[in-house]
Symmetry: C2
Subunit: 216 residues, 2 copies
């Protein structure tokens, strides 16, 4: 269980607060909008009306007590930047700010944000991967050199088992699941036999993963 | 390589178009805003100025030729709903619409959208998982019963190898990577020895994964 502070109850901030609370974390929310704050009262640990551009108010929140502080203000670039920077100066342990534009992201990272979330661009990147390339549906790029992707089973692999193909030792990727008829099932055995009717979900270095769709 | 139609060059639509094009797909974009369309000309296959609420214009795009059609209009609920529904009536193979609110999503799915993307809520869900629970950083829930999560190494596992612990056969999860000092490295060998300084990234059924953080 963690303690989190969420400043700003726009769509991102509100969904974040509700989900965090649902997962059993201690959630405090702050917003200038009274109606938005009142709406959250039944669901979160603490909900306060306040303008976080006001340093006194920000100080009174006791920001050092939170595991994470989120600045979920998108539209008002100045507010989001000032509040992020102020939180860090007051000793916040870890500040995550929401950005709407790439330039916004750069400023935030240079001025107190430990991490930045950019919902539209992140969603666009995922969609481009998932719907874009033939045979490859990227679920996740954990880092630039580690991915989890879904690929069609190469023809030469059909009818063979994972152990027989020596997938791990030969290609340096892990087959972690298969997808049949849209349903994903974990795969955890070397004697699992692959077939053309399924897709496999592989994990490993992005370049190593990229080899698989190219196999005969 | 796929052919995609993207209607609406807001932040999501624009990032999607650029990334899709970067990945080598054929991209056509349409927007009412001349400046936005012109900005995309160097990067995409075709860029057209047009109001997609106008059925003639929509028809002229030849929507059946595209693998995927994206309706990337968030603010104007009516426009996004009408265009989505119209695309389906004109025979579009697969329509993906962007939603800003949950009620919006429901209407879209009932009126022609094969899939809906909800950037703020999706980002909030991921952030809640990643930053919310102790010892567990959920990267991904591929389905309700398959997850990829990051956990601390249980004390009783420290100093032992993955093969020695018989992780796969005993717990039915795959250790696919480890995270040391913030960097993620793929793990693809049974003789890999675990230590307390790292986190491990495990994949498998969500209930099976949940057992791991509880181990002594
Ligand atoms: N100085 C401030 N102190 C506290 N709350 C603030 C402050 N400035 C803005 N807010 C609140 O932040 C919330 C989110 O802001 P806004 O709607 O501008 O961002 P947004 O990026 O459009 O949100 P989203 O995209 O998540 O819906 C609003 O509810 C607003 O009242
Ligand atoms: N009928 C229409 N035909 C073509 N383009 C349209 C139409 N209506 C709106 N658009 C375009 O769609 C784009 C996105 O719309 P809007 O900015 O309202 O959505 P948004 O959800 O706020 O975008 P984002 O969150 O992705 O930045 C705008 O560039 C707008 O010009």
């Amino acid at each position: 269980m963690r303690t989190v502070l969420i400043i700003g109850l726009g769509r991102f901030g509100k969904h974040l607060a509700l989900r965090m609370a649902e997962l059993g974390n201690e959630v405090m929310v702050v917003d200038t909008d009274e109606a938005k704050v009142e709406e959250m009262l039944p669901f979160v640990t603490r909900a306060q009306i306040g303008d976080c551009m006001n340093e006194k108010i920000l100080r009174s929140l006791g920001v050092t007590n939170f595991d994470f502080c989120f600045v979920a203000i998108g539209d008002n670039f100045q507010a989001s930047l000032e509040i992020t920077s102020q939180l860090k100066e007051l000793g916040a342990r870890y500040v995550i700010a929401k950005a709407d534009r790439t330039i916004h992201e750069k400023f935030l990272l240079r001025n107190g944000a430990d991490a930045v979330i950019h919902p539209e661009r992140d969603a666009a990147m995922r969609a481009a991967r998932a719907y874009g390339a033939r045979n490859v549906f990227d679920y996740l790029e954990l880092t630039e050199d580690f991915s989890v992707i879904e690929v069609a089973v190469p023809d030469s692999w059909a009818g063979k088992s994972i152990g027989e193909l020596r997938v791990q030792s030969k290609y340096n990727v892990n087959i972690i699941a298969c997808k049949i008829g849209g349903k994903i099932r974990p795969v955890a055995g070397a004697d699992y036999v692959l077939s053309k009717e399924q897709h496999i979900i592989i994990a490993g270095n992005a370049d190593k993963c990229a080899i698989i769709p190219e196999l005969p």
